[in-house]
């Protein structure tokens, strides 16, 4: 009845772990108590948990990302602190716990911080940028959200009951096989990833169909904002690459639970096959993570340089070429595993080739800046830091693409420095820039600039201090994932890296303060026009936050950067005639996706602990949810044309009042002075 579950599952194997578990538990209890005390459960259920609106779903994704990032950052801090002191002594984190720390840190950052952050931003922005009222599949979109949430819940659960994997975020067998990792850790890792990858695949399909089918009239492919292009390419990668992760992890699960022999040492297993399958997903995943960030930077750099993007077409082609090439480089993750020299050479060359389109993009961004009227606002600061720091990471990547060099530094701190150098200034800075840039669109007020800058400098300075020493340490021969060491010359650099991590943590703290300060000052920071940055694309033509139907009348676009063009021509805010309005339909709220999320969480839990009865029950429950949904008719509500017209008229009057003696139809550029 209880499978592998017993009292020993409780987190009593180390003081730090027990403390963390108690902390998590008390945070959960406090949240529940707060919601009960303020009587917010009904509101939460009606407005958020059952919402199918892409805007709400986007915000919830980003909340998940921030909560999980807090955990991953604290873990990083613990590891850096441990390495700063653990010269010839075991430090304060024991080896088993240290291995759990780097495994959860990687898993959480990739699957439950960067992926939800990206999906959240895309959800929030994509329909607005293409002039659509929602995603193509709003219900499926909510299912994706709650699957991600239940995956994240499973990782948190591993802190409360049992342990997490010690096999690193990539979980190579045979170490992660049942012989060497008999506990529940690897199972937590497998099923959390499974939930996340189903969720991501569904999102990818949703995004791609939305982009192909829901563009407003006139929005041809070569007029799409670059963020939409990168989302489209990322979605294609998701659809074709994620099956590989599913196959790798599920075959591992079969090895573990049904005693099969895909990746075992004995009876014909082949662990190299796992490594191939994993990186066949893993390398496209790198581009799934980075392409949307490229999209954000393209939007931010164009807006804050007050110029259209330089080389739009070359940016598009570069994105498409990266998408194709990203399937041809996976072997560079394991040059040292015994392929022949010619195979290694092929993948080394392909890896260098893929740097070319990325280089094209860097030049395009630089030329967009050239002679622009640049405003150094927080998103722009992130973009500028990205351009310089990302090139550094790219160069170290080209070094690693040379097989002989890779033989020397593989599995060393150099590699750790390299991929953090891609993912922090690349993806994470991109997400921070996007978060700051689109925050007013989501909430109706801007983020506080002062604390935002402090947060930015925390991340930037902290990043350099934390990761530049790792390049040196890697060249000095320090392997990754070390719990303790005996080389005294490493310690000073590790202390610097520890200080860097602390500064990053302070930066993140500044961002938390920024959020609180901004909410308190929301009246002064309010975005009344809907266009706080003098921006260029469709999402800024509508109010902040947008009405639930986004566009009262679907816009008609006749060039790239349509809003900037209209402002230039003096028709920024046209008021359509009454006859142009039509009744519209929006999806009604629905509780089933949330229920599916809860069921899938318990399904994951049941599979981890071998509670087969619970697994069968939750599967039947999920099938019931799907069946229920297929009989639901009348799942849409209608909003009358008159209502839309009145809404638009009112907004137009407000805009007129705000514009005062300025010409309204040229936009609000006079409001966005260079700060």
């Amino acid at each position: 009845m209880t499978g592998r579950l017993s009292w020993e599952a409780l987190p009593t194997y180390g003081a730090i772990v027990t403390f963390a578990a108690v902390l998590v538990l008390s945070l959960i209890v406090m949240t529940v108590a707060y919601l009960t005390w303020t009587g917010k459960w009904g509101y939460l259920w009606r407005e958020w948990l059952t919402s199918l609106s892409h805007k709400r779903i986007g915000i919830m994704y980003i909340i998940i990302a921030f909560v999980m990032m807090l955990r991953a950052l604290l873990e990083a801090m613990l590891m850096r602190a441990q390495q700063a002191v653990a010269l010839n002594n075991p430090g304060f984190v024991d080896a088993e716990h240290f291995h759990q720390l780097f495994s959860t840190h990687g898993t959480v950052m990739i699957f439950f911080v960067l992926m939800p952050f990206i999906t959240g931003l895309i959800n929030k922005v994509l329909p607005l940028q293409i002039g659509a009222r929602d995603m193509a599949f709003p219900w499926l979109n909510a299912v994706s959200l709650w699957l991600t949430a239940s995956g994240a819940g499973l990782v948190i659960m591993s802190l409360l009951l049992g342990r997490f994997s010690t096999g690193g975020w990539s979980g190579y067998p045979p170490y992660t096989g049942i012989d060497f990792s008999p506990g529940t850790g690897v199972d937590y890792w497998i099923w959390a990833l499974a939930l996340s990858s189903i969720s991501t695949t569904l999102s990818g399909i949703n995004f791609l169909v939305t982009i192909t089918k829901r563009r407003c009239p006139g929005m041809g492919w070569m007029r799409l904002p670059l963020f939409v292009w990168t989302t489209a390419c990322s979605s294609i990668l998701i659809i074709f690459a994620f099956p590989s992760l599913s196959v790798a992890t599920l075959l591992l699960a079969l090895d573990r639970t049904l005693d099969m022999h895909f990746f075992t040492n004995d009876l014909g297993g082949n662990m190299m096959h796992y490594v191939n399958l994993f990186w066949l997903w893993g390398h496209p995943e790198v581009y799934i993570l980075i392409l949307p960030a490229f999209g954000v930077f393209s939007e931010v750099i164009a807006t804050f340089s007050s110029k259209t993007l330089f080389g739009y077409r070359s940016l598009v082609y570069a994105t498409v070429v990266i998408t194709l090439l990203s399937f041809t480089v996976w072997l560079h993750h394991f040059f040292t595993m015994g392929s022949s020299a010619s195979v290694n050479a092929f993948f080394g060359i392909m890896t260098m080739v893929i740097a070319v389109p990325t280089g094209v993009k860097i030049y395009d961004w630089i030329f967009t800046l050239y002679r622009g009227r640049i405003r150094f606002s927080v998103p722009m600061l992130y973009a500028l830091a990205f351009i310089m720091t990302f090139v550094l990471g790219g160069v170290s990547g080209v070094l690693l693409a040379i097989p002989p060099f890779d033989y020397v530094v593989h599995n060393s701190a150099f590699l750790v420095a390299h991929f953090h150098n891609m993912l922090i200034p690349g993806t994470l800075f991109g997400m921070m820039a996007g978060y700051t840039y689109w925050f007013p669109k989501a909430t109706g007020f801007r983020l506080d600039e002062y604390w935002g800058r402090l947060g930015f400098y925390g991340w930037l300075v902290g990043f350099y201090l934390a990761f530049m020493p790792l390049y040196l340490l890697g060249l000095m021969g320090m392997p990754r994932r070390l719990q303790q060491y005996d080389q005294p010359e490493w310690q000073p650099l590790l202390i610097v890296a520890g200080a860097g991590a602390l500064i990053i943590l302070l930066g993140a703290l500044c961002q938390l303060i920024q959020l609180i300060v901004s909410i308190r000052r929301r009246r002064t920071l309010a975005d009344r026009t809907g266009d706080p940055w003098d921006a260029r694309t469709l999402e800024w033509t509508i109010a902040s936050p947008p009405p639930e139907w986004n566009f009262s009348v679907i816009p008609n676009v006749d060039e790239r950067d349509p809003f900037a063009a209209e402002k230039g021509k003096g028709h920024a805010y046209p008021l359509p005639a009454r006859k142009d309005y039509q009744d519209i339909e929006l999806p009604r709220n629905n509780g089933l996706p949330f229920v599916l999320g809860v069921l899938s969480f318990w399904l994951g839990f049941a599979l981890v602990w071998h509670l087969w009865w619970l697994a069968i029950l939750t599967l039947l429950g999920s099938a019931g949810c799907l069946a229920r949904r297929s009989f639901q008719r009348d799942s849409e509500k209608r909003i009358s044309a008159e209502n839309l017209y009145q809404y638009d008229r009112k907004r137009h009057q407000q805009l007129q009042k705000l514009a005062g003696h300025h010409a309204l139809n040229e936009g609000f550029r006079w409001e966005n002075k260079v700060d």
Partner: protein, 202 residues
């Protein structure tokens, strides 16, 4: 703030919504096809890793797979005929009849497949015997699981036809079920050519 009118009739946007769903489902099928491609690759890697146990030549024979193939091809034909009925959108009972025949063929296929797998297990050639047998069971089993899910889906669609009738949404679901079913047929043809034929006729 907004007045919500209960929608009295199917939305004018329904046809384009259904086209979106068909595109989305098609993309899902492509993703699913990648899973099969990887399982084929896995089988290719594992095919000679018999670890001293029985090999494909010793275990596989062609008579039963031939019957399975005939059943599955027939089910594709009956599904095709059923599609003529849901596309015309009027006749319900012949449609249910043809769908039913598809399911009967699918059921026969599954029965034969399970018999074969049971036969292997009795010979002590289960999936935990060797890497080759793990790969064989998972490849064939994943296809079988798909067929099984397709049959549950088909049964469910028959219930829906009886309870809800044949409206545009139900027809679109049948269309997607059809694509799914035909894809499984294609995958089976590859299984026959890549697993059974080389195994039984080395």
């Amino acid at each position: 703030m907004t007045d919500i009118i209960r929608s009295p009739r199917p939305s004018p946007e329904l046809p384009s919504r259904l086209a979106e769903r068909e595109l989305g489902f098609w993309l899902f099928l492509m993703s699913d096809l990648v899973i099969f491609a990887l399982l084929f690759a896995t089988y290719g890697v594992m095919a000679d890793r018999v670890a001293g146990g029985p090999s494909a030549e010793e275990l596989l024979e062609l008579r039963r797979p031939l019957l399975e193939t005939l059943l599955l091809l027939t089910s594709t034909l009956t599904m095709g005929i059923a599609s003529l009925f849901w596309q015309s959108g009027k006749v319900r009972y012949p449609l249910i009849l043809w769908l039913g025949m598809t399911l009967v063929c699918g059921g026969g296929f599954l029965y034969l497949e399970l018999q074969e797998l049971r036969h292997l297990l009795e010979q002590d050639a289960g999936p935990s015997r060797s890497g080759f047998l793990s790969a064989f069971f998972v490849l064939v089993g994943t296809h079988g699981l798909h067929v099984c899910l397709g049959m549950l889906w088909g049964l469910f669609m028959i219930c829906q036809l009886l309870l809800r009738g044949l409206d545009a949404e139900v027809a679109s679901r049948l269309q997607r079920l059809g694509s799914y079913w035909h894809l499984l047929d294609v995958v089976w043809i590859v299984i026959i050519s890549a697993v059974y034929l080389p195994g039984a006729m080395p």
